[in-house]
Amino acid sequence: MDGQKAQVEDTADSQVPARQRSLFLRLLMMGGAIMLVSQIVISWIALKGFEEELGPELNQKASAVGRALSTELTYAINELGIPPGKLVGVSEYFQHILESNFDIQYLALVDNPSGVMFEHSVPDKLLDQFPATLHESDGSHNSHSIRDIGGYLDHRFPIHFKGDSSAALHVGVSSGNIRQQLATIFFEVIAVIVVSMVITLELLTMFMSRRILDPTAHLQKVLEAGSKGKFSYRLSLRARNEIGLMVSSLNRLLYHLEQRYQDFQFELRELRDAQIDPRISQKIAALKTQASKRYGFTDQFSVIEKTPALIRVPFFLFIFSEELSRSFFPLFVSGFIPVEPALSYEMMISLPITLFMVAAVVATLLAGNLTHRLGCSRLFLIGIGCAFAGYCGTFLSDNYTELIIWRCLNGVGYGLIFNACETWIALHSRAGNRAHSASAYVGAIFAGYVCGPSLGGMFADHVGQQTIFLISAGLSVLSGYAAYRLLASSSSGPGKNAGSAPNARVFGMRPWAILFSDNLFISTILTAISTRTTLSAFLFVLIPLYLNELGHSSTQIGQMMMLYGVIIVIGTPATSRLADKIGKYFTMTVMGATLSGLGLLATLASDHLGDSRAVLISIVAVGLGHCLILSPRYAIMQQIVYRYRHLIESSVSIGIYQFVDRIGLIIGPLLAAILIQQMPYANAIAAIGAIVLVAITLSAIIANVGQSQIKGESSA
């Protein structure tokens, strides 16, 4: 009977969701498409509006600046009696004004006989044109006039020297600048569309899974079992929707069926007891046994099981909260560094990130036992508690030490939550859907990578960096609430299946010795560490610092970082299918790492590509490279775990792998700090690329040696 039951579960798992999923996917795609189209239309209308408003707005600003400045100049010359030729500090003052009005391109004071007297940022091609425009000034001689000269809208304000207006102040607005501002708004709109799509799809997926997919799958399971004569299942679902009504009807049906069956059995018993002839009595007894074998009514209510996907939304919300500060965090830290830092400036910037990672790794290691005692949902909520306190503390921090302490607490929360999620996935997935379950977890991380940096960067530019941590605290509370609603009152967690939780007993030395004697494991670990190092050094530290140095706002930095997440989210499913199809997992990881390494070298060609474009190429290459690495690496680890399944418990192998893998996250910020002490940012990025290339070459050599050894052993 157990075997039959297992069979029922397997068929329910493998067939039903596939059919439902196609319906669900169609619904999701349709909903997504409608939303996307409507967002694009609204954004287009809004952009049009901006375009119409922006030009006049900039002209108005140029007018205001020009009027104020010409008043000051007139006052200095006419009221204070400073001869125009003796004006001092004019260019410096112009520079100061341009710095605080970045949408104005140039300022120039032009005198009729002597030409340009003072100027700042006037393009060379315009310098000769000013005196000419002065002569042309005919009708507009005595008033503010605007002309289009060489791609610039030139505002001219006459300055009267004791009644004679022989000089003029020129204020220039570039039409290219208007286009650039429109492009900035356009990218902001795109970022908002992408983020809102990701959030909507995440929430839609959660509601669909919880309210429709999981109950119908279970319903199907009950019906399948019923078709085989097993009526032992009942569904426990209270919902006032169509599914809920269907479930209660089914439960009623099953109840009446059981009642009738019991009546039938009772009548059979009565009939058997009333017989005098033992043969007839035996026949009836046989019939009764046969009936109870054919129809099972033994078990009572069964609760709809928790699925791995349930953790996705709380986990996504948490990653979202953590990633909000990603695009500006190193810059945020730099504001806390004391005048006389204990370590080098660069080290002080990377230290909070490194210690965060250390705290996370230590928490992950220690959480193993806690998970056993408390269960996933409680561990998740403790993690959220730590993260919430960490965010609030960071928001209130006013010195470097406080910042470090609160970020470490955040790191502890991060570690506990990661452990809770991994354990949840391990506990709630079955052999058949383990890879699919893991994708729920990985998907949530990358959805967070897409939404966090871009939205966080944008908000930071508007409300200030420190306030973002308050928003993060709010999101973490939401995440905790979602976890409480979705994961709590789980029958699973402690005890049951706990052995399969990752990180269980990674402390023993023997599994380490066995795994590290395997060349494939070492080479995979090398790739994994170099991938993680790239992520934490390049993406978390160097990009924010370098792009900030190049003059990009937090919004723009966030958008560029979002690109990495978008590539991973779109690319990973494609590469995982490709990996399964061609089966050359290791070749793919080597290709991926090489691509990311080469991509990082692009910053060496900044002179030809332009600084920002080179960084963009690096981000895209690293994103694509990591796409190629992620899925095959998982498959390779499965192979290794399978190879040593008799010697090491699979969860222990995975625990060791994950621990070593995370070391990369700690190395990254430290490496970045050491590199930027020695060289400019662009070179530091390239140096990381070179290190990745060396690591991957080593990894390939080690793997080849391993394979030839295996071949040698098998031929011997």
């Binding site: 000051e72 200095a76 204070l80 400073i82 003796k86 004006l87 001092v88 500090g89 410096e92 003052y93």
Partner: protein, 347 residues
């Protein structure tokens, strides 16, 4: 107000008595609302009443604080202090008010004086126009004065003063010609020795030679200015120096003749003589701030010992345009919108 004066004939009596005092002091009376006893304030000034006292009185009036103010003048001589101290002891005021470092030290003594019996030690007091109260040993620290004395500090921070000088022109060498008999001024010169090089300028301190009475000799001023000029000095600095305030006319005019701009850290040289520019606190506003300190002591009951010395948050950049034109050293455009432009009456 006058009608109220007649309702309190005893106040008029005090007025008459004080007018008859040998030092020409006088008492002032202001509003009392009939319910509260007016707070008795005893002010001692150095060279007659200034805008500080006007601001002080206006603040108390605006806040409706009843007070009775007696003002005595030291008339530039610390030797006039003992009878005033006697008078204060007799009058038992609620608050003593002192103007300037010399006055404060003569009336209140230093924080660790060996002869406390010669000074007013037990009556709450506030000082104004004291440039360096801590260095002059009037208080222990700005936060907690260590005695029943508080006050208002009036100088702009030295670094801010240096920044203004450098922002006006990248001068390379600055000289301070100073009265070496004044403790206040000596402290200032010591601080300048660090602050001027910090701002990227060379510093030349030139003490004014003393005459037979061991007092700074004003006749040497023109020669000192010429000496500074010959040593490559580009700007002269006037600190919180009463001597130079008194001889400001000759000092600043000689400087103009020699083509040297002067910067002043107090308002007297820019307002009453021909300093080219200065970063100063407005005396009237300063008086109002002193009024606020007095309110905290008299009305709120704060112990002066626990009342930190107050400081103005804003200072005035004063430029005498007639001096600027005479020297041909025009201010940079960036200062046009932030400075107060005046004429000093230079002929």
């Amino acid at each position: 107000m006058t009608s109220r004066k007649f309702r309190f004939p005893w106040l008029a009596g005090i007025l008459v008595i004080s007018l008859l005092t040998p030092l020409g002091g006088y008492a002032q009376h202001t509003e009392t609302d009939g319910k509260d006893q007016p707070h008795k304030i005893f002010a001692v000034v150095w060279r007659g009443e200034t805008a500080v006292e006007a601001g002080f009185k206006d603040y108390l009036d605006q806040r409706g604080i009843p007070y009775e103010l007696t003002v005595r003048n030291l008339d530039l001589d610390r030797g006039n202090a003992p009878p005033i101290i006697q008078e204060i002891r007799y009058a038992k005021p609620d608050l003593v008010y002192t103007w300037g470092t010399g006055t404060t030290l003569s009336i209140l003594g230093s924080v660790d004086t060996d002869t406390p019996e010669k000074f007013i030690r037990d009556i709450p007091a506030i000082f104004v126009l004291v440039a360096y109260p801590q260095a002059a040993n009037i208080i222990k620290s700005y936060e907690s004065t260590g005695r029943p004395v508080s006050g208002v500090s009036f100088l702009a921070p030295l670094d801010a003063q240096m920044n203004v000088i450098r922002a006006y022109r990248p001068f390379k060498k600055l000289a301070s010609i100073y009265d070496s008999t004044s403790r206040n001024v000596r402290i200032n010169v010591e601080l300048l020795k660090e602050a001027v090089p910090r701002a990227g300028m060379e510093f030349l301190p030139l003490p004014i030679p003393l005459d037979d009475d061991n007092k700074s000799d004003p006749d040497t001023l023109p020669e000192l200015i010429r000496q500074a000029k010959s040593e490559g000095v580009e700007v002269l600095y006037i600190g919180p120096d009463s001597f130079l305030a008194r001889h400001g006319e000759i000092f600043t005019k000689t400087a103009i003749e020699e083509g040297l701009p002067t910067f002043a850290s107090t308002q007297f040289p820019v307002k009453n003589s021909h300093s080219m520019f200065g970063l100063i606190s407005d005396y009237y506003t300063l008086g109002k701030l002193a009024g606020l300190q007095a309110e905290k002591i008299l009305v709120d009951g704060t112990r002066p010992r626990n009342l930190p010395v107050a400081q103005l948050g804003r200072f005035k950049l004063w430029i005498n345009m007639d001096v600027v034109r005479a020297l041909g050293v025009y201010p940079p455009l960036g200062m046009i919108s932030i400075a107060d432009f005046k004429d000093s009456g230079l002929e």
